[in-house]
Subunit: 410 residues, 2 copies
């Protein structure tokens, strides 16, 4: 029952193809469109931003997912965000979907859309249509096809983000693969996290959605780059059933548990990749809270730490500033006793206890700095109140974050 | 019934004296202690950080205020934060109070304490005691005595913060004066907002506390420099009754309304001063939300905007990035409809409508940049749902914020 990471991305699962195009939406001439396609109709699941302001593609995809209609393609552009919330934005979605449906020869009701990039610019429909026309004949299921799609959805991400996992079920091989992009912007606008996951497992739509909805609570919802919840954040999950396993329809089915575990490996990988590639950041900052009374407390406490600007700046400075961490726990609302908390820093360079029962240990600042100078830094807070734990992922706050987001649009 | 700003600070009200000292707690040799003293016993009121982790002086002062005992002096040091939460920290408070009571010849139960500065260092009790001995004979009620105390409580504040107001009541003159310090640090530690207000009004202790507790909701609680709620934040208000007005004991008394209004002028001035002197900032960023359904909605929406890192970085870049503002309103939890919101930017350089009914107007980027290049910038969001409004104050996010908080302790 082991689950393996394998080389691959959004085309790793059976029957999934992808393509990319430089459709001329980005002024730089870089890849700016991607198309994900399944040979056969899929069950779709999705989770979306909780921001009251929701970009048109978010509304569109939510409708598609909730409708129960099969899904078969996702059209993504990374040039213009289509963050308009009104009729105009929905019109662009409809036009994009209609063009893709016609070119691909599939029902319009089976096409999902996603956008990220500049706001305040109109979606150039001629270029979008042109891009779809370019991509349709190029759709392929190779490693390279997936990689080029993952590249095409990047904005200011510094690396493309792909992952795939495999496991055995009913004597068949099930694969989950995906690609995502992090909070980056090519012009000042709203940051956007997009994640596209494909799988060939055969599972009921209800359980597909439940698995995703549960899993994001401990993965995407536990990351923060700057505390700003975007209007475009979306995770889409398509399952085409081509693995050939007996359909999973019962939560008690051990195949469901296995799928959830595998899905978690994909989403946790992406969450860390997005946090570690946060705008301007130099380090992935992981925070584990252990010994919490409830899972909710552990999540609240750990997320408060990775969101604290003061703590993030200290991580940038390789400074074991435990006071800021305890402070961020204090205002989080999560339950803990400052006088019993233990705090550790850990990285490839070692592990060091900084605080014992709320009081600083006699630790070496030099050793602490060494540990904090690694590209992946973990803080562990043991609150000694129970058995629950959670991990949150963030990044440091740097001059480059200010530069990227403060520079005047030119 | 008009209330006037007058020149002055913590010694402006009758019977209040202050002194300062360079007690050698700050390595720089700068002023690092202040003493505020009333000739006669005062009624005290206070509001304190809601952080679960509370520094010893916060616990000490809360006990004093709640006890109902008269208060007569406040001993403040700006060198070491005494952020310890346990018995050790409380021991330092007790030692400080005992020393001050003995030197000043007043009951220990009437002495309040406040600390800000480096954490993780022991409070040097010999220097604290030495400082009190230096200050006691120097206590004076002049303009300069107040100013030197306001200077002594600064950490990385770039300007001292004082204000005083006066109004007539029952044919007598009532004065409220005060001093405060903002979020600054001389070493990486927890930031601290401290505010000390003195008045000669005669008012019941209950109404004194009620006036303060109500007022902070619209003043100090509406500011943010970096979203981190300190463990030391305190506002202390002392009233010695020397103005000679008939004691205010009824909330319906018009003198109470007048006092509340005057207190608000003091606290709002301080709130803007603290936000406008936020670490590394170049601009005071004021956000007014008008037309909200409830006061609570207006406060949630305006505070979310001034707390958004992305918006703060845009203000630093003089960038009219309305998308980030609407986005921050969206995730705040406050009620509004993104499709009916109007948004304006205003400063000394003019006023410009950026968004009308959720859609960008055809505004001039050049004019917007001009308006946003002033040291005080206001954004006004009209959500057109009701009659309630609120204002929040923040500052821009700059390279210097990262430098101040990211530089390794050296």
């Amino acid at each position: 029952m082991s689950i393996q990471f394998i080389e691959g991305g959004v085309t790793a699962a059976k029957g999934f193809k992808a393509a990319s195009a430089a459709a001329g939406i980005k002024k730089s001439g870089k890849l700016d469109m991607a198309l994900v396609y399944s040979e056969t109709p899929c069950r779709s699941a999705g989770t979306f931003t909780t921001n009251r302001v929701q970009a048109a593609p978010v509304k569109w995809d939510r409708n598609q997912v909730y409708s129960g209609d099969p899904a078969q393609a996702i059209v993504i552009n990374s040039g213009v965000a289509n963050a308009c919330t009104g009729e105009e934005g929905m019109g662009y979605c409809a036009d994009t979907v209609e063009a893709a449906a016609k070119i691909l020869g599939i029902p319009a009701a089976s096409v999902l859309v996603a956008s990220t990039g500049v706001i305040g610019r109109q979606l150039p429909m001629d270029k979008i249509t042109g891009g779809i026309e370019m991509m349709a004949p190029k759709l392929g299921g190779t490693r390279e096809d997936g990689a080029s799609a993952a590249t095409a959805i990047m904005t200011t991400d510094t690396t493309k983000k792909e992952v795939a996992v495999q496991f055995e079920l009913d004597g068949t091989t099930v694969t989950i693969g995906g690609m995502c992009k992090g909070s980056g912007m090519i012009h000042p606008n709203m940051c956007t996290m997009l994640s596209f996951i494909t799988t060939d497992i055969c599972i009921s739509k209800e359980l597909l959605q439940r698995a995703l909805s549960e899993d994001i609570k401990g993965t995407y919802n536990m990351i923060s780059v700057d505390g700003d919840t975007s209007t475009n954040d979306s995770v889409l999950l398509l399952a085409n059933g081509q693995a050939g396993n007996a359909e999973i329809t019962d939560e008690a089915d051990e195949g469901y548990a296995l799928f959830c575990k595998a899905l978690n490996m994909v989403n946790e990988t992406f969450s860390k990749a997005i946090a570690g590639d946060g705008e301007g950041c130099t380090a992935l900052f992981e925070v584990k809270v252990v010994g919490a009374k409830t899972l909710e407390d552990a999540r609240i406490l750990s997320k408060s730490i990775i969101t604290s600007s003061l703590t993030k700046a200290a991580i940038f400075g390789h400074d074991a500033n435990w006071g800021r961490i305890i402070c961020a726990m204090g205002y989080s609302g999560g339950e803990f006793d400052p006088e019993t908390v233990d705090l550790f820093f850990e990285s490839k360079a070692g592990k060091l206890q900084i605080v014992k029962n709320g009081v600083a240990t006699d630790y070496s600042e030099e050793e602490a700095t060494k540990i904090l100078s690694e590209p992946v830094v973990t803080a562990i807070a043991d609150v000694k109140m129970g058995e629950c734990e959670a991990t949150a992922w963030g990044c440091d706050l740097t001059y480059d974050y200010v530069r990227i987001n403060g520079d005047y649009r030119s």
